[in-house]
Every structure is written in C-alpha cells, then in structure tokens.
C-alpha cells in the first residue's frame, strides 16, 4: 500500500511543479520564439540530470537511519511550506494560485523585454532555464528524498515520469497553460503527504517506532489531513467573525 502512496505523492508533487514550469515555457515560447526557449529547456534538463546523477548514488552510501532523519526533516520543511500556503489559500487568506494570470503576466513581461540582436535570445533561454531548473529541482528533491527514505528511488521516479508524460503530453496537445488542473487542491494533498512522510520517516530515523510499522503511514496521513482541514475551518470561521465585526480581514 505504501508503494502506491509513494507513487501517488511523487506523481502529484511532480505534476504540480511541471504545470508551473509548463506555464513559463509556453509563455516564453509563444512570445519570444521556440528555438531559444528550447535551448533553455534543454540546458535545464541537462543540469537536472547532473544534479540527480550526483545526488542519487550519494544517497545510497548514507546509513538508512541517518538518511531517514535528514530526509524526514527535509520533507517536513518542504511539506510544512506547501501545507501552510495550501491552508492559507483554502481558507481565503491568500489568493488562489492562478496559472492563467501567471501566464498573462509572463507573456506581458516577455513581450516588453528587449529583443536580441544575435541568433540566441538570451532572455528567452534564461527564463526557460530558470523555470524548468527551479521547478525540476523541487521535483528531483522530492523524488530523491521520498524514494531514498523508502529505499526505492525508482518507484518514486515512476510517479514523476508519469507526471511528465501526462502534463507534457497535455501541454503539447493544448499548446496553452493547464488552467483546469485543480492545482490548489493538489498542493493541499501534496503538502499533507510530504508532511506525513516527514513525520513518519524522521520518527523511524530517530529510533522511534510506529505501532503496526508501515501500516501506520495511512493513519498518519489521515491525522495530518484532518488537522489541516481543521485549520482551514478555524481560519474561515475567524474570517467570517471578523467580517461581521466590521474588520476587512480574511
């Protein structure tokens, strides 16, 4: 069961990051031309391969308990960041992530930037490189950490690869940003899962034990999800009370 959860969390986290990278690449490609944009994408892909190639084998050398504490800690930090933003968005405190709005902003900025005089459009290549590298690095970290702590980077990679095929395929087919992807809900789920994996593995790495072993992962996910939903409800209630009281707060 935990293998399915592992693939699911890798798929969802990768899909969310890839949707964001796709939005940037499409905006740059449409406004500045595809040649330089694809140079940036290829460069970022190459850089990511180097990072994963260096980190992947290094993870195997680390003792599993140490790896689980470090990985669990990193997953907790990542997961709590995702969860915090997801809770604030779901409760209306932060605006929802809007790919269409981001796409329009990227298109406007790319259109206004100076045009190149040489063969390579450095602006387009750099922007595409940064978008793909930064989002891809997050995918690589999640896949390596989640997969590494579980002892199966390949299984986690399968989830990421599936996300690449789905998001990339749909993006190429539609040729526009994927605005209908329930990105905010996916981020909430990923935040819950990364936090749960972090809690689970850091505990095991510290020498603690979960009753029922790996089977405890699902109840931990349920507890974290319910707690996060409780925070959303509390913030919404607080916002409603504030509005009734005349304040202009969430």
């Amino acid at each position: 069961m935990s293998t399915a959860v592992l693939v699911l969390v890798a798929f969802l986290a990768s899909a969310v990051e890839m949707v964001e990278a796709l939005t940037i690449v499409l905006a740059v490609g449409v406004t500045r031309g595809w040649r330089s944009t694809m140079v940036g994408v290829a460069g970022a892909t190459g850089a990511l391969v180097v990072v994963v190639g260096a980190l992947g084998p290094a993870l195997v050398q680390v003792p599993i308990s140490t790896l689980r504490v470090v990985v669990g800690g990193l997953l907790l930090v990542f997961g709590l960041q995702w969860l915090r933003k997801a809770v604030l968005r779901a409760s209306g405190v932060l605006a929802l992530h809007d790919e269409a709005g981001i796409y329009e902003t990227e298109v406007r900025e790319a259109s206004e930037a100076a045009r190149p005089t040489g063969a390579l459009d450095a602006y387009a290549a750099t922007l595409a490189f940064k978008g793909v590298f930064l989002e891809g690095l997050e995918v690589a970290f999640i896949v390596l950490t989640v997969g590494g702590a579980h002892g199966s980077v390949l299984t986690a990679s399968a989830g990421a690869l599936l996300a690449l095929v789905v998001v990339g395929g749909v993006g190429v087919w539609l040729h526009r940003p994927l605005t209908r992807v329930p990105e905010n809900s996916m981020k909430f789920v990923v935040g819950v899962m990364l936090t749960s994996f972090g809690v689970f593995w850091s505990t095991e790495g510290l020498g603690g034990h979960w009753p029922g072993g790996d089977a405890s992962l699902l109840p931990v996910i349920a507890v974290v999800a319910l707690f996060a939903l409780g925070l959303v409800g509390a913030l919404r209630g607080r916002g409603a009370r504030s509005r009734i009281g005349g304040e202009v707060v969430p």
Binding site: L76, Q81, S91, V93, V199, G208, P250
Partner: protein, 68 residues
C-alpha cells in the same frame, strides 16, 4: 554579492523559503524527538509538527492581515 554568497542564498531560499519558522520548528521537533524515550518519539514528532504548522499558519494569516 559573491558567487559563494549567491550559491548559499539560492539553497537557503530553496530549502527554507519565505518562512524560516517552519525550518526552525522542524529542527526543534527533531531535537525533542531525539531526546525523549524511544516509545514517545512518534508522539513528540506528530504533536510537535501539529504545533509548528499551527504556528506558521497563524503567523502567515497575521502577517497577511497586517499587510492589508
């Protein structure tokens, strides 16, 4: 800014992000989990994480309200 500073800044932004309290909170939770008896580690990490997420969400909401 030197290249080393830029490199460190990149990794700080990448790992810690825009809210350092999560990273500090996780460090405190892990240290506490390591110090208590093994039977209590799971509870300390789980409850500690719940406290950290509550604090960071509350802080994020308060900052947002203050900015409006």
């Amino acid at each position: 800014m030197t290249n080393v500073a830029r490199f460190l800044r990149f990794w700080y932004d990448f790992v810690v992000g825009d809210d350092w309290t999560s990273a500090v909170g996780v460090a405190v939770v892990l240290i506490a989990g390591a110090l208590v008896p093994r039977d209590a580690t799971a509870w300390v990490v789980l409850v500690g994480t719940a406290i950290v997420v509550t604090l960071t969400v509350w802080r994020g909401a308060a900052r947002r309200r203050a900015a409006r």
